[in-house]
């Protein structure tokens, strides 16, 4: 019974001698794995901790419809000198009427004391 408690050391395995190439590959794999894990963690972290931003969708441009502007024909009357004179006179008339003032402030009559309180 006491023999079951005697620790019998296990035989240690023979050390394996790895080649240089194999070592490099292991290191690279390790680094890549760490980077992948790190990147994945960062992505997951930023996704879940960042506030949701409103999604702004770019406006969908409507197809431009080029409508032709209405073509206004100028009749012969509009080129006559009488018409041009009329056009000018109506324009100046409107301005003159707008500028007319019923009351000329410079013509306000003087306010006098009438009757004059002359002492006796």
């Amino acid at each position: 019974m006491a023999d079951s408690f005697i620790f019998t050391p296990r035989e240690s395995p023979q050390p394996r001698v790895e080649s240089r190439h194999q070592q490099t590959v292991s290191i690279v794999v390790a680094i890549v794995t760490i980077m992948l894990l790190g990147g994945l963690s960062f992505i997951l972290y930023s996704r879940f901790t960042k506030q949701l931003q409103p999604v702004v969708t770019a406006p969908i441009p409507l197809p431009t419809i080029i409508a032709p502007s209405p073509v206004r024909q100028i009749p012969a009357v509009a080129t006559q000198s009488a018409f041009l004179r009329l056009d000018s006179s109506v324009a100046s008339l409107t301005g003159a009427i707008s500028a007319y003032s019923v009351e000329d402030p410079s013509l306000s009559p003087p306010v006098l004391e009438v009757p004059l309180p002359i002492p006796r």
């Binding site: 509009a78 006559q80 006179s89 409107t94 009427i97 019923v102 009351e103 013509l107 006098l112 009438v114």
Partner: protein, 279 residues
């Protein structure tokens, strides 16, 4: 080198002289009314000063009753009465110059207003002689009463003249309006064949509408003119009320003319273009 033609030279010199004379006269007319206005303002300033001095002297005399205060009050009374005449005369001369500057006034109307102004200036000149002859406070009271009894007629003449000047301005604009309306009617008739029947009908309808608007403006102008002739028979308060009515009529007349000229503008634009349907 050829010598200048003496006849041609003489003709050019005459033209130059005529143009210079006209320019000088025009400048003188406008300079006259602005000069008259400056003179009026000066007389008004003097009147305010002398009126204040008179009030002070009167109060002192009434308070102390001394011979010195009586003499001062008498002197200040004469000064203010004299200055009152000067002020009214300067104002009437201003009205006179403004009337001369109104080129559109019919000769009969202008002569009426000029005679009103002239009559009042004549009255003031005779009143001035009365003021110069004042020897006592009783004389001063008599002289002052002489002007005060005439004051209704004086203020009616003044208001009538002011209304006449404003009426003249509006009548000039109405005359220009009539000319433009007449020209547009001639154009429409002359170019009858160039407009489609639809357009012709529209133009004719618009011309009728503009003519109606012009009639309404004339109605207001006539109302104002009629009322201005009633001013002389009223007391000052009634004159003020009627004068306000006259101004209101003139403002309404102006508005009708403005609406009409806006419609004329539309008429011109309608004649200027044809739409896509050829109208």
């Amino acid at each position: 080198m050829t010598m200048p033609d003496p006849e041609c030279y003489d003709l050019h010199m005459r033209r130059l002289f005529l143009i210079s004379t006209l320019f000088f006269l025009a400048a003188r007319v406008f300079a006259s009314s602005s000069q008259a206005y400056q003179d009026y303002l000066y007389q008004f300033d003097q009147y305010r000063q002398k009126s204040t001095d008179f009030s002070v002297a009167k109060n002192e005399y009434e308070k102390f009753g001394t011979l010195t205060s009586q003499t001062t009050a008498f002197q200040k009374t004469v000064d203010v009465l004299s200055q009152r005449d000067n002020l009214l005369r300067a104002y009437l001369l201003l009205l006179n110059e403004k009337l001369n500057e109104s080129p559109g006034a019919a000769s009969t109307d202008r002569n009426l207003y000029l005679s009103l102004v002239r009559n009042e200036v004549t009255f003031l000149e005779s009143h001035r002689k009365l003021v110069d002859a004042i020897g006592s406070l009783d004389d001063a009271k008599t002289a002052s009463g002489n002007l005060e009894s005439h004051y209704n007629a004086l203020s009616a003449s003044i208001r009538q003249t002011i209304a006449g000047i404003a009426l003249d301005g509006l009548l000039r604009l109405a005359s220009q309006f009539d000319q433009s309306l007449s020209d547009s009617k001639v154009l429409i008739v002359t170019n009858h064949g160039l407009f489609t029947p639809e357009k012709q009908s529209t133009l004719d309808r618009w011309v009728l509408q503009i003519t109606n608007t012009r009639s309404l403006a004339q109605q207001k102008i006539d109302d104002a003119k009629g009322k201005s002739l009633l001013l002389s028979s009223l007391n000052p308060d009634q004159q003020n009320d009627l004068f306000s009515d006259i101004k209101k009529n003139l403002a309404q007349g102006k508005q009708y003319l403005l609406d009409g000229s806006s419609n004329l503008r539309e008429l011109v634009e309608a004649m200027r273009y044809q739409d896509e349907y050829g109208r």
